[in-house]
Assembly symmetry: C2
Homo-oligomer: 337 residues x 2
């Protein structure tokens, strides 16, 4: 409990030099005698000195930090994005600090988390939330380089890097239509719940319609809020009759659908085909085998960092919008009619 966290002055005293010399020596020795550098470094590590980033940021007007906001770190989707950020940021000489919502999905909470990042004076902002409206991001984006990752955006003042939801939903729907399904249920979530998920299901429904497939739209929010919601939705599908495939807004939802089916003794794809969306780790495994559409999160993460950093470094001035292509994950839950 040696409460005294060493400051640059302690190091200076220990090395017998002034604090300016310490600062320069530790920064990268520009105009400091090699012997002195050695002495300073020794003293610093002896004392366990770690420069106060707050003080440094104030005087240097630079923090070399980008802030990442993720809506909910507990889902693998955001988790993968986070590690991708970290990896690329380190390569480009920046650190990443992350803030997340408090698990609750209130917009106010999310805005508060963003403010935490801004208060830290991060030099760039990466926002990942399917729910936070762009209007809440804009005030920050006008002041500091910002990129929205993982969802499409059209605004002029904020960059975005995302997987083409429309293209993915369309391609997946084509696949279903190709396999001869003539009546398909599309499960949707409220637009306010997830912009991305509703975008892709919109595309699915549209494309199925264009292909002459009969679409049964099942709004999940109409089926209550409890965990048994999907039972009710699946029952509904069965009651409608003639449906041979269900398209879910995400792998996560698809798992729920499969579980609900299982409780009813229905098997996929024998009784009913099922598709998901996202194609990330746990669900896209061979064992799970959900037919899905994979978003290359590592690419999205990497490009997001590049975008903010380029803006910070002044390489880029205008906001850019980058759509990444996804790929089909064949899986085993979708079969010909």
């Amino acid at each position: 409990m040696s409460h005294a966290v060493p400051t640059i002055l302690d190091v200076a005293a220990a090395a017998g030099v002034s604090k300016s010399v310490v600062s320069r020596a530790l920064a990268g020795a520009y105009g400091v005698a090699p012997a002195t550098v050695e002495r300073v470094k020794q003293a610093a590590s002896d004392l366990g000195y770690v420069a106060n980033a707050n003080a440094r940021g104030m005087s240097a007007h630079r923090t070399h930090t980008v802030g990442a906001f993720v809506r909910d770190a507990s889902t693998p989707f955001y988790g993968h994005l986070l590690t991708a950020f970290q990896l690329r940021a380190a390569e480009r000489g920046y650190r990443v600090v992350t803030a997340t919502g408090a698990g609750s999905f209130s917009i106010a909470e999310e805005r508060r988390a963003l403010e935490t990042l801004v208060a830290l004076r991060v030099e760039g902002l990466i926002v990942c939330s399917g729910a936070l409206p762009v209007e809440d991001v804009l005030p920050f984006a006008q002041r500091i380089p910002t990129v929205v990752a993982g969802r499409p955006e059209r605004d002029e003042s904020v960059s975005s890097v995302y997987c083409d939801e429309h293209g993915g939903g369309t391609a997946l729907a084509d696949r279903v239509a190709d396999l001869g399904h003539e009546r398909v249920a599309v499960f949707t979530v409220a637009r306010s719940g997830s912009l991305t998920q509703s975008a892709r299901t919109d595309a699915m429904a549209r494309q199925l319609g264009a292909r002459g497939v009969d679409v049964v739209l099942v709004r999940l929010e109409d089926h209550g809020d409890d965990p048994r919601r999907l039972d009710s939705a699946v029952d509904h599908v069965v009651a409608v009759g003639g449906v041979t495939a269900i398209m879910a807004p995400s792998d996560h939802w698809a798992v729920g659908v499969l579980e609900a089916m299982r409780r009813r003794g229905l098997r996929a794809p024998e009784d009913l085909s099922v598709t998901g969306y996202d194609g990330i780790m746990p669900f896209a495994t061979e064992l799970f085998g959900i037919t899905s559409w994979r978003q290359p999160l590592d690419v999205i993460g990497s490009l997001s960092v590049d975008d903010v950093v380029d803006q910070i470094d002044g390489v880029t001035s205008r906001a850019t919008h980058t759509a990444i292509d996804g790929t089909l994950v064949p899986g085993r839950t979708l079969a010909p009619r």
Copy 2:
């Protein structure tokens, strides 16, 4: 691109008062005329003022921030922990900043991430890494309240909150023995790879032995580094002969085992029973059905935060070690012999 981030002086000017008044008004109005408070708040929100946390931290000697280090945010295990931290910290009036390793699993990287947090002058540290040796944590723990979450620790100077690995491994092994298995393969990872995983598999092997079960120890690191490692391990188990169950160090590994079995036309639990460990979301679902041992991550996360915050607030002085009980997840991959 109004590059000018407003400072307290801008707000003061806009409100026609001194910066001291702004500081007090925004902090919580102690000795400030109600009318003035109103004027200041208005000016602040007009300007989009967000106080510089770095400057505040310097002068106030408090950051009201705890730092969380997680080894790899992309796994649901750590992700759930993160949201639990966030939730509880918010309740106790602290913010959480998170740093993660760069996806690579180098100890140096992890130490660097810890230093990032310390540089930010977080008031407390929560470390979650199955790999980082405690010696690397100690130097920090001596200076700032620290808790290691998710793995047991015995050191006097650092708290820990963890799920009882020994108890869990033992209970799971008992379950397997109870079901009449007489020859069981236990898959293990290197102690240096994961302290927690090796702790639980040690307990499994020990208890199986105590119950008179024949234990086949399969060291996964002996089977190479490639993704096909588990194929080789499973082949080995089959070659040994007589094995009726495999106990994996985690659900993640168990999934791999199930996939490898699947490639060989082996089914669980008909041909071979399989158990995992962790019991968290994607794998412990009804659909996946892995027999496992659940760690209550929300409780661990919440208690971890309480521990650091209590240390910060001076409620607690000594390091504490808290073991949380887990629960059996029945699943469907373990059957009587």
